[in-house]
């Protein structure tokens, strides 16, 4: 059994106070001269036995009442984890969620959720006696036997990480391990029930449940959920970083914890190549997303740094790391016949003010030779590629490049990846094709990071060609026909837009739509060059390749060599420079609902123990506390009932002379 306030257990000694008082009272009796001794002797003889038992019961009730009060004050919680009826267990498989979100602290000065979970498990295991403890932590997902539960909090496999967790696979691992073991076993899952870690819609849950059901021994599942309120916490995220000449454009987001209200100012510190600068950042509401321009040192080829917030409730979310490589031009290939369309596309791909943007123009026939891996994007306003051009374009897309296809302006039966163009069509006389709706959260027509929409409503077309294929449109004309579609390849994306930036087709050439759409496509295509510097903990990129060694370059925080693969920071993996950050899903506040938990652990007969730890809403501890308090009240009530005199003491009223035949009853 463990207690949230174990020091208060000293008050258990107070349970002996009634007995001590009783004994002292017996010794400190007062001597009194007494006349009615005959009744005293008789009463004393008669009171033995039953009376003595009653008195012992009264003392016991008093002692137990005080003991229950002391226990309630100490806030027992362990009983909540293993339950009152837990019998002998041979093996406990502990699935420990040590994702970044588990480092949130329920209150100022308290331990993190992960540490609370470890402490609870340690105490619970101690209560179980000789049960074997097998740990499957969310970072390594490898079962390992813990020799002594006392060391649970000290081993590297339970330390804090910047990883995300994958609960379906962890449960499957536990079932797989138990299939090889014997004896009564239980699976304990200590987690904050973060939805992105539990993945309630993941199909692997069914397989994990089936594995559990197939175990030879009945295995109980207990979920120790660590939810509830937390201390104030701000998290910094990098969505992307792109070098533009002597600046690094960092797409940044700062989130505040769900309970945060109003506007606040936070100091944002930029650490770059050993120097740091701090600026004050005003955050209206719960989040802010913006692009931060980090000025790079002159002649800086490569470098790294990080952006940090002051320490708060979760230290794992207070820094975001970035790295950059040499400045390189962003090249775009324009495949279009000479004319207005080609001019507009060239202008949109490399406006004069954008220093490192370059365009290469070619015609359809020689396009296959112009498609090179260093291109960020291709703008294709010609009949769809075929033969060598087709192969080159498809490879370009699979490697992460982006291609914007525009109508060929003529009817063409050619297909690209099952997508083809319909014949050109004109709008009715005096009318235009107008965009009715478009995806404002995704694609090249999405709203800006500050919420400003693209002026796609201004697009007017008198001629169009409908892209046809089994795809979901990102924009539609008023008549419901698709205006913009995409086809995703391995790492790249092909976009198809249904009109041309030509005055005989539409006003697409105006900067309202074409410029942001083309620039976004080029940026997305160029990200694969800069993305080689930016990744997240646990990703394939962040894993060591054969022959590589891992070296940390930044000085943020306290290094934990044993958990290097699971820690965010600036890392040198062999020759690769990587800024490895916490996965974004760790910042999402959604937690699993009871229904979702019931669904993912259906038929396992799991027990949910909502252990909010030392937060302001400690559900389990409060329940136990209440139980002890009720017990205390019951004991005191029993004591009161036992102490109640059965009869009123004898009293004599006003003296009255009674004569034979009269009777004046005495009360009592």
């Amino acid at each position: 059994m463990s207690f949230l306030s174990p020091l208060l257990l000293w008050f258990l000694a107070a349970a002996s106070v009634p007995v001590i008082i009783h004994l002292i009272n017996r010794r400190r009796h007062k001597t009194i001269q007494w006349a009615a001794m005959q009744f005293l002797l008789k009463a004393s003889r008669e009171s033995r036995g039953k009376k003595k038992l009653r008195h012992i019961l009264i003392l016991t009730c008093r002692a137990l009442g005080i003991a229950a009060l002391a226990l309630a004050a100490a806030r027992p919680i362990v009983s909540g984890l293993i339950g009152w009826g837990a019998g002998s267990i041979d093996t406990v498989v502990l699935i420990l969620d040590r994702s970044a979100s588990m480092e949130v602290k329920p209150g100022d000065g308290l331990q993190s959720r992960r540490q609370i979970a470890i402490a609870n498990v340690k105490d619970a295991i101690a209560d179980l006696g000789g049960a074997r403890l097998v740990l499957i932590d969310s970072a390594t997902a490898t079962p390992q036997e813990v020799p002594s539960p006392d060391t649970l909090g000290d081993i590297s496999s339970t330390a804090a990480t910047d990883t995300a967790a994958d609960l379906p696979s962890l449960l499957a691992k536990a079932a797989e391990y138990l299939a090889e073991s014997t004896g009564r076993a239980e699976i304990w899952i200590a987690s904050d029930l973060q939805t992105t870690n539990w993945k309630p819609n993941d199909e692997r849950w069914a397989a994990a449940r089936a594995s559990l059901a197939a175990l030879p021994q009945k295995t109980a599942v207990r979920v120790l959920s660590l939810t509830g309120n937390t201390t104030a916490d701000s998290t910094i995220l990098i969505h992307g970083a792109r070098r533009s000449a002597s600046e690094l454009l960092v797409d940044l987001e700062i989130l505040r914890s769900g309970t945060a209200r109003g506007t606040t100012n936070l100091p944002l510190t930029t650490h770059l190549n050993g120097s740091s600068t701090t600026e004050s950042l005003t955050i209206p509401g719960q989040s802010i997303r913006f692009q931060k321009r980090v000025a790079l040192p002159p002649d800086s080829e490569t470098g790294h740094g990080w952006l940090s917030l002051p320490a708060d409730g979760n230290p794992r979310g207070n820094a975001a790391f970035f790295a950059y490589g040499p400045d390189r031009p962003i090249r775009t290939l324009v495949v279009a016949p000479q004319g207005e369309t080609a001019d507009y596309l060239t202008l949109a791909a490399a406006p004069p003010a954008y220093g490192n943007l370059q365009t290469v123009r070619t015609d359809r026939a020689s396009a296959h030779t112009a498609i090179t891996p260093d291109l960020a994007a291709i703008l294709w306003a010609a009949p769809l590629p075929e033969d060598e051009a087709y192969i080159a374009t498809e490879k370009f897309l699979n490697d992460g490049g982006h291609v914007l296809f525009l109508p060929p302006a003529t009817a063409s039966p050619l297909q690209f990846n099952t997508i083809t163009w319909a014949d050109p069509s004109d709008s009715p006389t005096g009318k235009f094709f107008i965009l009715q709706d478009w995806n404002r959260a995704d694609g090249p027509l999405r709203d800006g990071i500050d919420g400003t929409p693209v002026a796609a409503k201004r697009l007017r077309a008198i001629r169009r060609q409908i892209p046809q294929g089994d795809v979901t449109p990102l924009a539609r004309w008023e008549d419901g026909e698709p205006a913009l579609i995409r086809r995703i390849f391995d790492h790249g994306t092909a976009w198809f837009i249904g009109t041309l930036p030509d005055y005989t087709w539409s006003n697409l050439g105006d900067a309202d739509v074409l410029l942001p759409a083309v620039q976004r496509i080029i940026t997305a295509g160029a990200n694969r060059f800069d993305a080689s510097y930016l990744t997240t903990v646990g990703s394939e990129t962040a894993k060591l390749r054969p022959g590589e060694t891992r070296t940390r370059l930044d000085s943020y925080g306290t290094p934990d060599p044993a958990n290097s693969p699971h820690t965010a920071g600036i890392w040198k993996l062999g020759d690769r420079l990587l800024a490895i950050n916490t996965p974004h899903q760790e910042t999402l506040p959604e937690i699993l609902s009871k229904d979702e938990l019931d669904a993912v652990l259906a038929d396992t007969g799991f027990t949910l123990l909502d252990q909010a730890g030392q937060s302001t809403d400690p559900t389990i501890s409060r329940d136990i506390w209440r139980a002890f308090l009720i017990a205390c009240l019951l004991f005191l009530l029993a004591e009161l009932l036992l102490c109640l005199p059965k009869k009123q003491p004898l009293t004599v009223g006003t003296p009255t002379t009674t004569r034979p035949g009269e009777s004046r009853p005495m009360s009592g």
Partner: protein, 296 residues
Amino acid sequence: MHSFLDNSLLSRLGSLPIESRVPMMGNVAGKHRSPHRGSSVEFAEYRKYVPGDDTRRLDWKAFARSDRFYIKEFEADTNLRAYFVVDASGSMNFAGKGVSKIHYARQIAASLAYLLVNQGDAAGLSICTDKLHLEVPPSRRAAHLERFFSTLAKLEPTGETGLINALHTIAEKIGQRAFVVILSDFFTETEALSEALQHLRYRKHDISAFHLMDPQEIGFDFERPHRFVDLEDGTAIVAEPTLIAEEYNNALSEFLKTVRNKCHDASADYQLVTTDTPLEPLLREFLTARLPKSKH
């Protein structure tokens, strides 16, 4: 002046006579009925004339109506002799938070004796323990009262009770009917007490019993354990009152009921009194209750 006498109380009670409930057989004329016919103004009965009767007592009007001789008889009034039997055992020395039972007995005995002598009756005193039996013979003289009071004042309760022997002695010793007032806590064998009372009744005495108890003996409201030492024989017992209060109350209640019944069986007036009871209402109630119905 003795501490147990209260002049103002006595003056206030002076208007109330002490009546006997049975005819008295006194030596001198008094205000109490006698079993004999006498010369009082109160008509008793007619009886036939027999030779030797005083012819002055013939009712000539009755003779005129019936032509027979009748003697007209009147009640004889005589005085009352009262014996105050005070239990002086050690238990009477108990005083809880107020006065002791013996002091309270002194107050009652002295006050009633004063009133009796004041109305021309005789008052005597009998003090009893297991080792001592003091007697002050009854007398009507005012000077006798001082001896009565002095004896009461010197009274030192000690030892076990000698009440039973004292009552038997009085019953045997007093030849004529008397008013016997017993002041005691009656901490003795109730059967023996019953026999003693029946003995007095057999002698046709008018008996009144004041059963004196201390409020602490009745309430028994102790909280802490106490070592109780017997006032009579010194035996001691350590007890926790909260544990035995119920049994104690039961035993005491049974005892009080038994004593009352025994008194009533012997045609004795019974009065249970706690020592915190104001004396005046107690005595006023006692005296009023003894008045004949017509005088109430």
